[in-house]
């Protein structure tokens, strides 16, 4: 059965807003039980794509099947089987955490919804009688995730679940998402945080300007697009830069008076260290690491993944 293999099938999906082409003829599939991340900067078309799949928006053209059904024709059959955390989620200010979950469980006609279990899952046990308005940004998002799970959905859509949260709140949301992953829930996640995609996703699709430009597991994407090592050296002597350059590498200075060198082979690391030692220079710090998705994205698109202008919603 096709549904067992792919819970989401997207074929030649296009979405236009007047003259703006938000999503440009994209195709991909999402397998059951996997965490699929759509990774891209703001304005890349992530939210438009997810909102078409989870039935909020209609596509301009293309076919999208969710759980084997056409999203444009079978909304009423699809909706009870999915859970959605929309971008910029918000709820009724003066309704408590428990009442909010009860409200949504009634909308799904779930008489026996495990409200306490959901509260435990998102770690809101000591906030059950707190009004939504009084929750911090991170707690509000965790409640949003619990709401998305209230109908025990087969697929969960989380549209930028950690955008605007401070690092601590973000990690708390990640803990919840990791427990979902552990349970084998199929999750469709959009994010512009590379660490989030790398930490949570089985499959990552990188989207830029409405086009999917690469797709695979985080390891595959890095292997395929950034098969090198990054060395960061901090030295007391500035002559080290010249020594590395004369060896045929292309060192660059970074902001912290360190040298960054990209090398293709593991042996090159040893060669550089030996050359520095032979020149009688002392090494203060050394960092050798594989590239991450940020660098993959940079290489593929030539633009930065992060928008540093994004405000952060801290704990209240």
């Amino acid at each position: 059965m096709k549904e067992a293999e792919h819970v989401i099938e997207v074929e030649n999906l296009t979405k236009r807003y007047g003259a703006l082409l938000a999503v440009n003829d994209i195709s991909f599939n999402v397998k059951k039980n996997e965490v699929f991340a759509l990774l891209g900067p703001n304005g890349a078309g992530k939210t438009t794509t997810v909102e078409i799949i989870d039935t909020i928006r209609l596509p301009t053209s293309g076919i999208v099947r969710l759980l084997g059904m056409d999203v444009t024709k079978k909304k009423h059959a699809i909706v009870p089987r999915i859970g959605v955390l929309p971008q910029g989620f918000s709820s009724f200010d003066k309704i408590t955490v428990r009442e909010t979950l009860q409200y949504y469980s009634r909308l799904f006609s779930r008489k026996n919804a495990d409200i306490d279990g959901l509260i435990d899952l998102v770690n809101l046990k000591d906030k059950t009688n707190e009004h939504y308005k009084n929750l911090s940004g991170g707690l509000q998002q965790r409640l949003g995730i619990a709401i998305a799970l209230v109908n025990d959905p087969e697929v969960v859509f989380l549209d930028e679940p950690t955008t605007g949260l401070d690092p601590r709140a973000r990690r708390e949301v990640w803990d919840v998402l990791l427990s979902l992953k552990k349970k084998g829930t199929t999750v469709f996640l959009t994010t512009h945080y590379m660490e989030e995609a790398e930490l949570l996703a089985d499959t990552v699709a990188i989207i830029s300007k409405g086009k999917i430009i690469a797709m695979g597991s985080p390891g595959e994407l890095i292997e395929r697009n950034a098969n090198y090592l990054l060395i960061t050296l901090q030295l007391a002597d500035e002559q080290a830069f010249e020594i590395v350059r004369k060896m045929g590498f292309e060192p660059v200075h970074d902001n912290h008076k360190s040298i960054k060198v990209r090398v293709e082979q593991t042996d090159d690391v040893q060669k550089i260290l030996t050359a520095i030692k032979d020149a009688g220079m002392s090494l203060l710090t050394l960092d050798v690491r594989k590239p991450n998705l940020e660098e993959v994205f940079l290489k593929l698109t030539g633009e930065a993944l992060h928008d540093n202008q994004v405000g952060e919603r801290g704990a209240k």
Binding site: V84, P86, D93, L107
Partner: protein
């Protein structure tokens, strides 16, 4: 339609307003303030006392008697102005907006006319007035009436045409009793219109509508629960208004099944208008401005505060095209006059209007984003 979903949604909206104490207070307080304010102003409208300044230059027994007669009319509270003062300056100094000046020679002329039947004998009283004052025309009208009566009496001939006033009502109604149904209609209109516009734009701006779009709640469930919510709020508000009216002004209004019927139709009509408005105005602030722009002219033109007969003819024609006019008329027909036929006619008009705008409102309410 799923009644469990309608109930769940109704609970959330009711709890939201119940816990928002300030909103709850002002929702109920606004019409109460209007009732108390206007009720107090017009409570003794039948015994309105205008201040009338009179300067008696004649200082005679006859002139004093005439001034006394003016006071007996019951409409005036007389203030005597010193004959030595310049009456024109007195008005200019804003000490009074109208001064009636009885000239010197008043008694002499009166004697000539009464005793010697000298028809050439007459006196001219002068009004010094400030035309910018709104009460002056009414005062002059009453004064002219009193003077005409005096003139007629002095002829000694009984009047040819007499008039008798016979009200169709067994009991005369007071202004406050005219006013309360109008305020109920107006309050229900503003609650429904602003409530719909505010709730829809607020929930849309906050993204709650987008979230609801991914749940099994349908537009029909949502609209029905919103309707019930507005109806409950309108009933609570009306009950509070009536309690205050009975307690403070001892009104005598008839409460019957027409009252909830007209409230329901009022809610339907203005929730419908609110839903149409929300389709075109996206931000909650501009939506409130648009709701104001619609509700204020309707409020004043529909006869909520005063009878439309006081307005120019063309405005009366406009008033009769407004939905609130029929709610006002219908409520007054049932609550004051107990006229079931008139209430039925008015309910039919507002019913048809409400059905049309409500259907248009449902069509206008859109959750999913288009292609």
């Amino acid at each position: 339609m799923n009644l469990r979903i309608v109930g769940a949604n109704l609970f959330v909206t009711l709890m939201s307003i119940y816990r928002e104490k300030t909103t709850m207070f002002f929702t109920l307080a606004f019409p109460i303030i209007l009732i108390l304010l206007f009720g107090t102003i017009f409570m003794s409208q039948d015994n309105v006392n205008f201040h009338l300044s009179v300067q008696d230059l004649d200082q005679s027994e006859s002139s004093a008697k005439s001034i006394e007669t003016l006071g007996h009319n019951g409409k005036f509270k007389i203030t005597k102005v010193d004959p030595a003062i310049n009456a024109l300056q007195y008005v200019k100094d804003n000490k009074a907006n109208l001064v009636l000046v009885i000239p010197k020679g008043f008694e002499t002329a009166l004697m000539r006319r009464m005793m010697h039947k000298d028809l050439t004998a007459s006196v001219t009283v002068t009004y010094f007035y400030d035309p910018s004052s709104s009460s002056v025309p009414t005062k002059m009208e009453i004064l002219n009436g009193v003077l005409a009566g005096l003139n007629q009496e002095m002829t000694g001939i009984p009047p040819f045409i007499k008039s008798v006033q016979k009200s169709i009502l067994t009991k005369k109604y007071r202004f406050i009793e005219f006013f309360i149904p109008g305020i109920i209609a107006m309050a229900v209109m503003t609650l429904s219109l602003f409530g719909t516009v505010y709730l829809n734009t607020e929930l849309r701006q906050k993204g709650i509508i987008r979230k609801l779009c991914t749940t099994p709640i349908t537009r029909t469930d949502w609209i029905l629960s919103h309707m019930l919510y507005q109806f409950i709020i309108a009933l609570v508000s009306t009950t509070v208004m009536l309690v205050v009216s009975y307690a403070v002004f001892h009104v005598n209004l008839h409460l019957n099944a027409w009252l909830p019927a007209f409230i329901l139709l009022d809610v339907f009509a203005f929730v419908g208008i609110g839903m149409i408005l929300t389709r075109f105005v996206k931000e909650s602030q501009s939506a409130a401005a648009a709701a104001n722009a619609i509700s204020f002219p309707i409020m004043f033109l529909s006869g909520s505060f005063f009878p439309i007969e006081l307005m120019p003819g063309f405005l009366q024609t406009i008033a009769k095209t407004l939905p609130l006019y029929y709610v006002n008329e219908g409520l007054r027909a049932s609550m004051i006059f107990q006229d079931n036929m008139a209430a039925l006619r008015d309910s039919a008009v507002i019913g048809v209007f409400a059905a049309i705008v409500f259907i248009l409102g449902i069509i206008a309410t859109k959750w999913e984003e288009g292609k």
